[in-house]
Symmetry: C2
Subunit: 595 residues, 2 copies
């Protein structure tokens, strides 16, 4: 029996040499993607061998895996067997949705350069001979540690005297620059909160401010979704009245407060131990979160109120962490290229890359940045909520029962649902797969029209592709209109890529590396995306799926002053192209819809 260790999920068990790594995973409830049923055919159950011996590489693997993946020790779990204790890494894209939450992200290791310094202070009780003010007393106690004076957060002053007497003149102090932002018990572990607010989903991370380590992470829905699925409808909602604007703001603040409490509860901490937060989001979300006006963001020329980085007291926006804590907002670049894009660029290190590289964060709004020999240019594309399942007849978000992977070969249709449950709908990556497979199998023509085919049902004007028959229930299908929605979404993204490349006098073939960030981008099959023309037809090894990079960028900016400065540099350095201003936009857009 061998010990098999799945990382980073941290599940371990003992297995024999006759159990494939996929079998091991299943027994440990590590839900690896597997469409072909474990015959080494679909190539989706990739795992990376970190340590230990496994069976020899098979021909199927040599076909399925890229050269780089092979070099890095990637194998297909379904046809690989252990020969010793094995430690392996499961990349996020190999996990089915419930485990692949939006918090999974790129891990970038940086030297902590903390914004918060934790200190202990032993005060001397005042006497009639030395009736020092409490604040002065506190500074005196810190003087031995080289800190002689500074500011104390005003709200903190309102409770300081009570606190030091309650705690017998011994305190833990959180110092930010020259300002004391919180006090607690001696040796308090000060926490930081990093949040990536997406239009649809929110990813939150709790970090130790001293070590810089991520302690726990959590995903949730953006509660503003009740005001509209895309930012345009939320801008309209918030512009209706100050009450609506305030409601949209407080919805987010309350949700983040709740998330902070839940994250803290998981480690036995308290939200008031959170002494710094970094929040990223697109420009509209950034403004809605801060209660900044958004009306002008919805009208040409789409200007933000503010684009530079901001430090705002948590209490000013109703975020219930330490009342003296600051919330740091990374800079925005433009009305539709926000702080989340800056965070993504920070995490992917795109700015540090040589040659020509592209980073793309696919979402309801998709931002793309090209770094060509150090010159960075970004573009924003309204890809819409189709990938989140909106405007798609059987569309749904990535949740149990959603069809997430589709394979069609010789009229044999294979589907995989999240958590293996009976199909209830189709999520973004499933739609992408399905349309790609339909195109490969000539069920769709180049223009995206459904042709006559055994799997296509035609009723009068309407035709639809049958994805899953459900006896007693309506069949899950993909309609002509659904295909059209996806075409519009992918055209927007492709046009963005082309606009950036052409602005530098390049062709898409010049792209040496394409980084795909964002939760959705992690789950898609790059080949499918190439098949439908969403991504350019480049060798697969040029693509890298990195997960939630915006969340990672927020975490970097949370724990390191250097990284925060770097983010500011990126925002300054990054140029911006307005897609609507590209010459012959309409013609090019129409062309980009072709499959």
């Amino acid at each position: 029996m061998f010990n098999i260790d799945f990382e980073p999920v941290g599940r371990r068990g003992q297995f024999s040499k006759d159990q494939s790594l996929l079998d091991c995973a299943r027994q440990l409830s590590v839900d690896l993607v597997s469409i072909c049923g474990g015959i080494g055919d679909c190539g989706r159950c990739k795992v990376q061998i970190i340590a230990g011996q496994v069976t020899k590489l098979t021909l199927e693997e040599e076909v399925s895996l890229s050269t780089r993946e092979l070099e890095q020790g990637y194998r297909l779990a379904c046809i690989t067997y252990p020969l010793s204790d094995v430690k392996l890494h499961v990349p996020p894209e190999s996990l089915t949705a419930p485990q692949r939450t939006q918090v999974e992200g790129l891990e970038v290791v940086v030297e902590p350069d903390p914004l918060i310094r934790g200190l202990d202070a032993h005060l001397t009780p005042p006497t009639l001979e030395s009736p020092q003010a409490d604040a002065r007393n506190l500074w005196s106690a810190l003087a031995a540690q080289g800190i002689t004076s500074g500011k104390i957060d005003f709200n903190l002053q309102q409770t300081l005297s009570w606190y030091i007497r309650q705690h017998d003149w011994r305190l833990g102090v959180a110092l930010r620059g020259d300002e004391i932002v919180a006090v607690g018990k001696p040796s308090t572990r000060w926490l930081g909160l990093a949040v990536d607010i997406g239009t649809t989903k929110v990813a939150g991370y709790l970090l130790d401010m001293e070590s810089g380590k991520t302690l726990v992470a959590k995903g949730m829905m953006n509660p503003q979704i009740s005001y509209g699925e895309d930012v345009v409808s939320r801008i309209a909602a918030a512009s209706k009245s100050p009450v609506d604007a305030a409601r949209l703001q407080s919805l987010l603040a309350e949700a983040l407060s709740q998330m902070s409490a839940e994250l803290c509860a998981e480690i036995g901490g308290h939200p008031t131990d959170i002494v710094e937060a970094v929040v990223v989001g697109n420009t509209a979300i950034h403004h809605l979160f801060l209660g900044l006006p958004v009306k002008q963001l919805g009208l040409s020329p789409y200007v933000p109120v503010v684009d530079s980085a901001l430090d705002v007291k948590a209490r000013e926006i109703g975020l219930h962490i330490a009342p003296g804590a600051y919330v740091h907002l990374l800079p925005n670049i433009a009305g539709y290229v926000g702080a989340d894009h800056v965070a993504m660029l920070l995490a992917t290190r795109l700015a540090d890359m040589d040659g020509t590289a592209l980073a793309i964060d696919i979402g309801t709004n998709t931002e793309i940045c090209l770094n060509h020999k150090g010159k960075m240019t970004s573009v924003s594309c309204a890809s819409g909520p189709a990938f989140e399942g909106a405007h798609i007849r059987f569309g749904m978000r990535a949740a149990p029962g959603a069809i997430e992977h589709v394979r069609l070969e010789n009229e044999r249709l294979e589907i995989q649902t999240i958590a293996g449950e009976p199909p209830v709908g189709i999520c973004g990556s499933g739609l992408l797969d399905a349309v790609a497979q339909m195109r490969s199998n000539q069920i769709l023509n180049r223009g995206g029209k459904l042709v006559t085919h055994p799997l296509v049902r035609e009723e009068g004007d309407r035709s639809e592709f049958i994805l899953a028959e459900r006896p007693g229930l309506e069949d899950i299908t993909i309609s002509q209109k659904d295909v059209r929605e996806l075409q519009l979404a992918k055209a927007a993204i492709r046009l963005g890529i082309q606009a950036l490349v052409e602005a530098e006098g390049l062709t898409e073939g010049d792209l040496e590396q394409v980084i795909i960030a964002g939760a959705f981008g992690t789950f898609i099959n790059v080949e499918s995306a190439i098949t439908i023309g969403m991504l350019p037809d480049l060798p697969l090894e040029r693509f890298k799926q990195v997960g939630n990079a915006a969340g990672t960028g927020a975490r970097l900016a949370l724990i390191s002053k250097t990284e925060r400065e770097k983010a500011g540099q990126i925002a300054l350095q990054d140029g911006y192209i307005e897609l609507a201003k590209v010459p012959n936009f309409n013609r090019k857009f129409a062309e980009a819809t072709y499959l």
Copy 2:
């Protein structure tokens, strides 16, 4: 006929050479003090001739006025007649109470060194070619004026975009250091608010932040008085529960907001044009105004939460001026020597004086500071609310009908009431006069006991001095207990003076100058105060009554960065003596009660 001009009240009229300056004043409703009825005897209707010719100095005047007053052109209005057009200055102590509000104060002229810079900004509407964020656009518009970047108050950012579009891209901007704290119409006259919050009364001043000029002033009662007349009872009230503490805080904030609105209304301005405020008060009031805990202030060793100067956003304490405005609090020195004392020292320039000088601010709590050859030491004395009329049977505040001046000669009793109305009670200065006159006329012995006298009514154990008979109403009297209250108050003050002087190895005779500040201090008769032993027996010309100096200090700190720094220096420089720690305190206190 001659033009007679009374300053600073600004009343003018034409009069003949047969009308005394007192007659002129009365016809112009300038209410000069006059106890003797205009026979040059009481010496209270002092005026200073600034320009023009008047009749020759009389013997009465040479007796009544000090050498310095004579040198400075002081005359008694009742026996001085014009010989040409005359311009004269009426010192506050010569005015009866309704005009001598607590806002009358020392005028100190300083070069304005403004904290707020008013600028106009003409923004360029953004275009698709140049979709600048509104904030960046504003900084670009200011760049021509040498300001390239800085902060914008967060609350202001929440309305900025709306505002600049409403006002056609043209703004007036209030810049404080590198922070924009308010925007308004182009050429907005930015205002400043200076407030002296006394335990009993509040004095507010509205200033033009550019010129530094005081535009209008207003007095009101401190609404916290419903929670107790002295700070000790308010500390107790606020320590009861957080709700009580919050109520005490909001009472003051609301009253100051109301006062701001009223002050602005008088000049056709708006409270949101107030972009900076300076508030002074004693340490307890300072803490209660900011919502800082006060419990520890009421217990030995009486420590404040904070003693250094503070800048707090107006909105954080519920003060309704420009939301981005800062409220600056001058530093405190100790638990019972507060920012109002620092402001008083700033205004009186005590720190700049050579030799040995004393400044004393008489109030419910009396603070005294000695400057001996550059070494400054302060003391705080709990003089109590007797001067405000509290704990005195017929005591009342300085309001119409209050007996404010008393003269007794050869059993002929003369009283003067505020506004000449029928007597309804006795205010602090009247009580001081009465007790002094009773002592001079041997109606009181040294220990303060009422002796048998035609004006003293004895009923069993109780005896009282009849001050005013009121047919059909109860007579206004001064009881043995009232005398005792005054003795305790004056003993506290005298002991404070002695403690300071003795700590430097001096005697009271070494005091070369005694500055008496505060509204009450302005109205008292210094001779009476000497008679009862509240003030040391020094030549009258060594005393100077300067009115509300704390309010003046607040105004100086409002309009000048230099003055604000000076206040910080004063607070650092000023030592502090705890009166309760003076050796043989009890014996000395008992001695100090002697009249």
